[in-house]
């Protein structure tokens, strides 16, 4: 055997001695190729390997196309659901109780500037009591006004076993009117408030091209249903929301505190009657004055809570604009444009939210894929180097 002397000899020797596959192997491989590389039975394979194979075979373009289709369908479904729920909310004309207490947070400021068409019957302040005059009994005073209130399903407050609840109610009603009818509708609102013995807290009426009106009202809870019916009869109802809030817990707490305070005042009065020295009487009187101020504060808080249950806050908004019935009930091209714009807006919103969710996940997946690919390449290079 001659050893190869130069590159040419070596190349020839390498080509002559290159590894040759066995005939058995080539026959077997030929058969598999002819059969199109039949897969193993899918039953015997786990789902993960099937998915992996499918992803391996599918190109990135196909995956992108399929993913885009799924996202598109998801957006369409979400839009349909959203539009459906939105329409239901807008067209409901009564009985829909939303847990939205839009006015409960602003009740304190609203009460600071009332414009009563008729003075409220409850919640007026009480004069500070003197030595022998007894503090007004909360239960006995509150009972008559509450008994007339349908909004508060309540009787005397008790420490335990309270059978009734103090419910604050609020409502919002939106009316659609022609600009020329805004003044008449506003007058009708005032009339309805008067009929319901309610209070106008704030009102704004605008005439002209952007005509409209806003009313913040206090309506006796017992009259709320009738008042809302009267408001609804004024013009076309666009929106109507009602909300309730249970304020039983704060009412009970303050009632108990007031009762304790009264008990302390009674005790101090007894001590004052038994006091023998001037100094002792001064100390007790000072403490008595403090306790009475505290009791008055509690009384005021309780009055406000009672007013919240006795009176419901109602917001009436009169708006002008294109009515759905202006064209005689016929659905026209402008309505179609409006609806299309509405749906497109919702679809854009849903898409934006979807992107906000998907984009970070896609970014993480992309980074993970790149890291995995880099790691595989590094491992292959290392394997080749070590081979």
């Amino acid at each position: 055997m001659e050893r190869p002397n130069d590159h040419s000899d070596l190349a020839t020797a390498l080509a002559e001695t290159r590894p040759v596959a066995s005939e058995a192997f080539t026959r077997k491989l030929d058969k598999r190729v002819a059969a199109g590389f039949p897969r193993r039975s899918r039953r015997s394979r786990d789902p993960l390997s099937l998915i992996r194979d499918h992803l391996l075979v599918s190109g990135p373009g196909r995956l992108l196309f399929a993913g885009g289709g799924v996202v598109l369908v998801a957006i369409a479904v979400a839009t349909v659901i959203f539009v459906g729920s939105s329409d239901t909310e807008q067209t409901s004309s009564g009985g829909l109780l939303n847990e939205v207490s839009r006015f409960s947070g602003s009740s304190e400021s609203a009460e600071s500037q009332p414009q009563p068409s008729e003075p409220p019957t409850a919640g007026t302040g009480k004069a500070a009591p003197q030595y022998e005059s007894s503090i007004p009994q909360h239960e006995s005073e509150a009972a008559p006004s509450r008994a007339a209130s349908a909004g508060s399903v309540n009787g005397p407050a008790s420490t335990s076993g309270r059978a009734h609840r103090d419910i604050e109610r609020s409502a919002e009603i939106g009316l659609l009117a022609d600009p020329a009818d805004v003044a008449d509708d506003s007058a009708a609102v005032f009339s309805a408030v008067h009929d319901a013995h309610g209070i106008v807290l704030r009102s704004t009426t605008t005439s002209g091209k952007r005509a409209g009106a806003n009313f913040d009202l206090l309506i006796p809870s017992a009259q709320l249903g009738d008042a809302l019916a009267a408001f609804s009869a004024i013009d076309e109802v666009r929106t109507r929301h009602e909300a309730t809030e249970d304020i039983t817990a704060p009412t009970v707490n303050i009632s108990e505190e007031l009762r304790d305070s009264r008990a302390r005042i009674d005790g101090l009065l007894a001590q004052l009657a038994a006091a023998e020295t001037e100094t002792e009487m001064d100390v007790i009187e000072a403490e008595l004055a403090r306790e009475r101020r505290h009791a008055a504060s509690l009384r005021a808080q309780l009055d406000k809570l009672e007013q919240r249950t006795d009176f419901s806050r109602v917001s009436v908004k009169i708006e002008t604009g294109q009515s759905s019935t202006d064209s005689g009930g016929a659905w026209g091209i402008s309505d179609a444009f409006g609806d299309a714009g509405h749906i497109l807006g919702i679809a854009a919103g849903v898409t934006l939210i979807g992107l906000a969710v998907i984009a970070p996940l896609a970014l993480i997946a992309l980074l993970a894929w790149l890291a995995h690919r880099t790691w595989i390449r590094t491992q292959r290079k290392r394997a080749l180097r070590d081979a």
Partner: protein, 176 residues
């Protein structure tokens, strides 16, 4: 099978003919490359079969603008071979497999000695060097095709091959 192939029987036929032609022209070369790199007959058979199966499944993704079909096929085969090396996690040892009698046309003492000499010399090369030799002389790829497969320039392939051949010749001279 691609959608175009399903819709158009002629396209399907062309697709199969292309793969068939690629298989017929490259089967022995892919095996020789895998065996030269792995120095393990069974592993080389597994890698060859896996490479053609992967190529068959991914044939619709072949892009002629990115290189020749052979270079694409050998890229797949190379990944399969390197994955096999990773799986083994050990340095490939000098082949101790019994020589397949069917693969040897006729008894030839000189050729057997030459084969043993080259095997010994190849074992002294590093993995990337042995891969270049396998791609060039066992698989018969051009420098340009090797460049596509390995991911370096064709001139770099030539330089490295030259250096590897020097090293291989020295290894042959130093062999007992």
């Amino acid at each position: 099978m691609s959608e175009a192939a399903i819709a158009d029987p002629a396209a399907q036929s062309r697709s199969e003919v292309d793969f068939e032609r690629l298989y017929r022209s490259s089967r022995d070369d892919v095996y020789a490359y895998a065996a030269g790199l792995l120095r393990d007959q069974a592993a080389a058979e597994d890698v060859t079969a896996a490479a053609f199966e992967r190529a068959y499944r991914k044939r619709s993704r072949f892009d002629a603008n990115r290189g020749s079909a052979r270079a694409w096929l050998f890229g797949i085969a190379r990944n399969a071979a390197l994955d096999e090396l990773r799986r083994r996690g050990r340095q490939a040892e000098l082949s101790t497999d019994p020589v397949d009698a069917a693969s040897v046309p006729a008894p030839d003492r000189d050729r057997d000695e030459l084969r043993l000499l080259l095997d010994t010399a190849l074992a002294r090369l590093e993995g990337p060097e042995r891969e270049l030799v396998a791609l060039k002389f066992f698989a018969g790829l051009s420098n340009g095709e090797i460049a596509d497969v390995v991911g370096i320039s064709a001139s770099n392939v030539g330089t490295r091959l030259n250096r590897t051949m020097d090293k291989l010749r020295e290894a042959c001279d130093g062999a007992p």
